[in-house]
Symmetry: C2
Amino acid sequence: MDETQALNAFAALSQETRLQIVRLLVKAGPDGLAAGVIGEAVGASSSKASFHLSHLEQAGLITSRRESRSILYSAAYPALAGLVGFLMRDCCQGHPEVCEPAMAALAACAC
Amino acid sequence: MDETQALNAFAALSQETRLQIVRLLVKAGPDGLAAGVIGEAVGASSSKASFHLSHLEQAGLITSRRESRSILYSAAYPALAGLVGFLMRDCCQGHPEVCEPAMAALAACAC
DNA sequence: CCGTCATTTCAACATCTCTTGAGAGGTCGA
DNA sequence: TCGACCTCTCAAGAGATGTTGAAATGACGG
């Protein structure tokens, strides 16, 4: 992930509806959810949901596939991991102050 | 870090000048840098730099302290770690797909 | 082929955000 | 105190972004 991609990813995540969608899809797992289901879950009209889903897909944070009449969206896990990596990229140049607490946060993660 | 804080943090990081500033300060270490030095480093006028520094401080990503005539800004390392933690909070609910690549990214980190 | 369902596209509008330049506020040395 | 230095504040304008509702597209069953 380069700086431009990170910029787009941060912009995509800086909007409440979009952040809700990403978190919903991360929880939903690789199978994903239909656009209509997502819109209803976050309380957005169909056109509003579509607008934000496009934005997230453009930013590379989610992917889509058609399944008969529905379009299923799912989280792009590698992109999210890349974003985490980007945030931590410069932390070790003699100053481990970022890494240490992040490592602790990660250790609390049960996977 | 709650969802509102994360939203503000992502908004703060979604602007090129501000992302440059954060990365510069992360590299600079806990001592921080003066506003003028930062502005020059990222090619911003004094008022532009001040605008973005205020924005970042408001978002909790950097802190400031006066040192005689200068105002020194430094990275808020715990807040950045909190953001990493937030990104990874929901990943382990039966779906370790985010954690695994992020763990790998972290392992490449030499601290 | 037709009606229905699921989603996207479009244009218009309101709103937020960034940039710019001029000026004001503290801080220090002479 | 005066002048120089460093930074912040303010108002105005340009541009980007989000919302809305109506219409268009594509897929399926009868």
